[in-house]
């Protein structure tokens, strides 16, 4: 059953020119964690803020548990939001930050104490109640912000790049913690990020957004393996996108050609670096090695086709390649796109 239903929602900002969210629809199932992934300005925050009630949709419907909440103010919605800048109330200590919402709900004081302490334990901050916000590290502040939402047991948890301001190491740890907590509490979650790692490692499903529109909604492994559009292909992981033409079943681009069983016309060939084999070739080379980077476990070869189109290939023996060398390309798995859609996959 879908807990959250977003139906044809658009948001045009007051100045009338920016379509931040454009006819967006999404169903989120009970207990699911959905990541909204997209480049800066793609409308992720705007969408999340509309679910939280902080922005009003220009058109469309928002439904939570079968109830139309499109015009319900944030304080009456069963959603809990965690902001990027934690937004903790600096004039209150940790306990009071967590207790504020419970007090508004007229929960009895000893019950408040019990629940606040329970949630602090859950986020690994047991005993931190009397601390002031300024006395916490960035990671602890973000945990308190999460706890402040969790303590009210919201139906839907909304997170807007909650770890963006933290360092890589801490970010990875918190990511796992949040995923653990989310699965333990089975809380339906919408998570905004522009980090593909974050989305791939946490999400049950990923929504890839671009200019306020959906590009693809799928499980992480599918989004990675079978991107529906060249944009998704280029945005998730590293992908070589080679623009060329097909004629008589052969795709060609500047001296490089490969069979592609589609009708004649332009096409974009997509190959992951790890799916591209290279062989050294002195005669009839298709490209030239530009740079070789050795990562220890594997190597990455940057090469140029004859017209200087850049292509990356992952190799297991980087020491076999030298800058300036001629190479031939042998893709093991390809996809081809035309008019923003997949026309071939092999």
């Amino acid at each position: 059953m879908s807990v959250l239903k977003i139906k044809d929602v658009s948001k045009i900002f007051a100045n009338g020119t920016v379509r931040a969210v454009d006819n967006f629809s999404l169903d989120v199932a009970d207990g699911e964690l959905v990541c909204l992934l997209g480049p800066s300005g793609s409308g992720k925050s705007t969408l999340l803020r509309m679910v939280g009630g902080f922005e009003r949709p220009t058109s469309g419907l928002m439904i939570i548990n079968g109830e139309d909440i499109t015009h319900v103010p944030p304080e009456k919605r069963p959603t809990g939001m965690v902001f990027q800048s934690h937004a903790l109330w600096t004039h209150m200590n940790v306990f009071k930050n967590l207790a504020f919402g419970l007090k508004l709900r007229k929960v009895a004081p000893d019950e408040i104490k019990r629940r606040v302490e329970g949630v602090l334990d859950l986020v690994g901050l047991g005993g931190y109640g009397t601390r002031h916000v300024a006395q916490l590290s960035g990671g602890q502040q973000q945990r308190v912000a999460l706890a402040r939402s969790l303590v009210l047991e919201p139906k839907i948890l909304l997170l807007d790049e909650p770890f963006a301001s933290l360092d890589q190491h801490l970010r990875e740890r918190l990511r796992e913690e949040v995923r653990d907590i989310q699965q333990r509490l089975k809380i339906t979650t919408l998570f905004v990020t522009h980090g593909q790692d974050e989305a791939l490692s946490m999400a049950d499903r990923i929504v890839v957004m671009r200019d306020g529109k959906t590009e693809q909604i799928d499980r992480p492994d599918i989004v990675y393996r079978e991107p529906q559009t060249p944009f998704v292909a280029g945005f998730i992981g590293t992908m070589n996108l080679i623009e060329g033409t097909v004629s008589n079943g052969i795709f060609s681009k500047a001296g490089y050609s490969t069979p592609l069983p589609v009708s004649d016309g332009p096409a974009i060939l997509a190959v992951r670096p790890e799916a591209l084999d290279l062989t050294v070739a002195n005669d009839n080379a298709q490209g030239k090695v530009h740079r070789v980077t050795d990562y220890g476990t594997h190597g990455l070869v940057d090469l140029e086709l004859l017209d200087s189109t850049r292509v990356k290939a992952m190799v297991s023996h980087p020491d076999l390649f030298r800058a300036g060398q001629g190479v031939r390309l042998a893709p093991k798995a390809i996809a081809a796109y035309r008019d923003n859609a997949v026309i071939h996959r092999a």
């Binding site: 103010p73 937004a87 903790l88 939402s149 009210l152």
Partner: protein, 272 residues
Amino acid sequence: MATLVHRKTDWTGIVLAVVLTLVIVFPLIVVGTWAFTNVWRYPSVIPQEFGLRFWYQTLARADVWTSITTSLTLATTVTGISALICLPAAYAFARMDFPGRDILFFSFLAGHAFPKFGLLVAIAGIFLQLNLIGTFWGVVLIQLVGTLLFMIWIPVAAFQSVDRRMEEAARDVGAGPFRVFWSITLPQAGPTIAAAVLLSFVGTFYETEGAWLIGAPQVRTLPVLMISFINNQPVIQYGAVLSVLLWVPSFIALMFARRVVNSGSFARGFGG
């Protein structure tokens, strides 16, 4: 490292300190000394006789006590009303968009950019017709105008620097707009607003032009009384005692301001 560097004498600093001392502290010391002097005749550098004689004489006067009460009541009333009017207005300026917002906001500054006395005379003319001359509420009204600048501009800055996300987070956990203002916005902007209230209180306490023009002689504040003392009685000590009395609110204000500034919340109020 620091021990190796020979500290150069900071002449600019010394000159500045000396000048500041002469300009600010010296007159204060002279007035302060006069207040506790019974006899001090030329050409002696220090008074011939110290004592509290003039304090007894000054504080024995009924008009001094009346004016102290008047001044305190006035300053409290004006500041209170000003807060009631200005704080919501400042919030509106900081958070809402309405037609004429910028012009209205700027007009508060413009009102202070020109000599005030002309404005006061014009207002006095109007008050005369309204029978407000010589009344307590007439003085309240005229002094209210003087507080608008502090009580709008400073709180606007304070409200603007409150993080919108904090307010949204409060909405998110179930607080309505008024509760958010009361529990989040006001406490966050609090220290800076307290400074504005203080400034307005002290400013009103010392205000003389309006108080004299509208209030005198029926409503006499402490500063107005002091001026009439100085004008009518060439005894320096009376004026000196009164001005020492007038320092009291300043000292209290400074002590409070120090606490606020030290706590860092003042700087935060200004987005520091």
